[in-house]
Amino acid sequence: MTDAQAIGASLADPEVFAVLFDRHFDAVHGYAQRRVGPDLADEVAAETFTRAFDQRRRYDASRDDARPWLLGIAANLLRRHWRSERRRLDAYSRSARTEHGKEAAPFAAEAAATLRKLPRREREALLLLAWADLSYEEIGVALGVPIGTVRSRISRARARLRGPDLDQRPKEAADNG
């Protein structure tokens, strides 16, 4: 039974929808975890499935795999946790700079700092690619936008990540004494 078939069957017999949960909960949870940490991920992942159930009539039955659709719902829910996500990125970019020193993780610190500054739509598209391993087409399904839009959002986001000076590092305190 494909996901599309399970969703179709759940219209008559709602509890069949649990199949979707058993297949995809870990993937949704894993994605949410990278974005907001394990505690909030429990909440986001759980709510993703109750939301998905409520929206199942709108599911595009031509798509066998429901994972992109579910990750799109999760991405929507994650918007309300932007503060936590931002704090995580800030904390990480600070610690990668100060604790590991310049040679250890400068690119990672930079990347976390840049992620924080990306416009929401670009960040969402980019992270579905990098952290959920969706294809461009699947990202389009998840976010409900055409594939051309996905391409341009991701290429802009990647250019910003490569960009030399989006994140101007604070200079070392001149006054050491």
């Binding site: 949870h29 990278r34 909440e43 936590s84 990480y92």
Partner: protein
């Protein structure tokens, strides 16, 4: 592809969900399935919610577009800027000196797992120094913003909301790297805010707040910060108000349509000092709180420069 590899290498956990979390989420879904309403009625409900959301966006746009509020906010902010500009310059923070700030504040503590949210009040003292600093906080009784939050907190076994007391050494704080010329400052803050997911104007308002609170900003810089705030589109005058300790001030606000939250800054028009900050939930907020619910505040009670860690002005 190097950027993607770097992103993938960020050491954010990707552990499997705990069995407990998975089981809890699964039974929540099954409960939800069993309790869900007949389709026809649910559709109506969804339509009603969608309409309400459209209404909220409309209202916010309405607020943003009105030019009046913005003009009077600018007048009030420029008045504060003028007051700051007339103040005597303060010397830069010397080595061995500390900028001290004491505030009473409360921000949301969210337990996504157990599903409760509370305001955790604190008395916070910070000493900021070029060689290092200190933070000391004591926490008070949590305040729950809805009876559901309180009930879920009780059901979770009344966990501690904030540590009762915390003392932390702070690292060295470099001087604020901000120009005192208002045009240059505006450009610098705008460049910093550019591309921010919350919108450039919202982020600029946040950056102004960041530079005013718990820093050693000079009067000249403070003047320019108020001038910059006066130029940010969408900043509105809330009007004369009193803060939580009864001081008279003037409040300006920025209503953020991304996160449905209004941020207020209250300043003393006579001294230009930042007295208080507050965040207020707007219609459509993620928590479902009634519009106007206060979701955070900080009242700055005492500030000054001291020559010893732990000393108070």
């Amino acid at each position: 592809m190097a950027e993607l590899d770097v992103l993938r290498s960020l050491p954010f956990p990707v552990a499997e969900p705990s069995e407990e979390a998975r089981a809890r989420a699964r039974s929540r879904l099954l409960r939800h399935i069993r309790h869900s309403r007949p389709v026809r009625r649910r559709r109506l409900l969804v339509a009603a919610v969608a309409l309400a959301a459209v209404g909220a966006v409309g209202a916010l746009i309405g607020v943003g577009v009105h030019g009046d509020g913005n003009a009077s906010a600018a007048t009030a902010l420029r008045h504060a800027a003028a007051v700051a500009r007339r103040q005597a310059p303060t010397p830069p923070l010397a080595p061995g000196h500390y900028a001290y700030s004491k505030s009473v504040q409360a921000f949301l503590v969210i337990d996504g797992d157990k599903g409760w949210t509370a305001l955790g009040p604190k008395v916070r003292e910070v000493w900021i120094g070029r060689r290092g600093g200190l933070l000391h906080e004591t926490s008070g009784k949590p305040k729950f913003l809805s009876s559901g939050d309180y009930e879920r907190w009780v059901a979770a076994g009344r966990p501690r909301v904030n540590a009762p007391e915390a003392t932390e050494r702070l690292g060295p704080t470099p001087p604020l790297d901000l120009p005192t010329n208002p045009d240059a400052l505006f450009e610098k803050l705008r460049a910093k805010a550019e591309g921010n997911g919350n919108g450039v104007d919202a982020e600029m308002f946040t950056l102004v707040g960041d530079a005013l609170r718990e820093t050693d900003a000079s009067p000249a810089l403070r003047a320019s910060l108020y001038e910059v705030a006066a130029r940010i589109p969408g900043v509105e005058l809330v009007g004369p108000t009193t803060d939580r300790v009864g001081r008279r001030g003037v409040a300006v606000a920025y209503s953020n349509s991304h996160n449905h939250e209004r941020s207020e800054l209250i300043f003393d028009p006579k001294t230009s000092a930042l007295l208080e900050e507050e965040t207020v939930a707007l219609d459509g907020n993620a928590f479902g709180y009634p519009e106007g619910t206060v979701t955070g505040y900080a009242t700055y009670i005492s500030t000054g420069v001291v020559d010893r860690l732990g000393a108070r002005p």
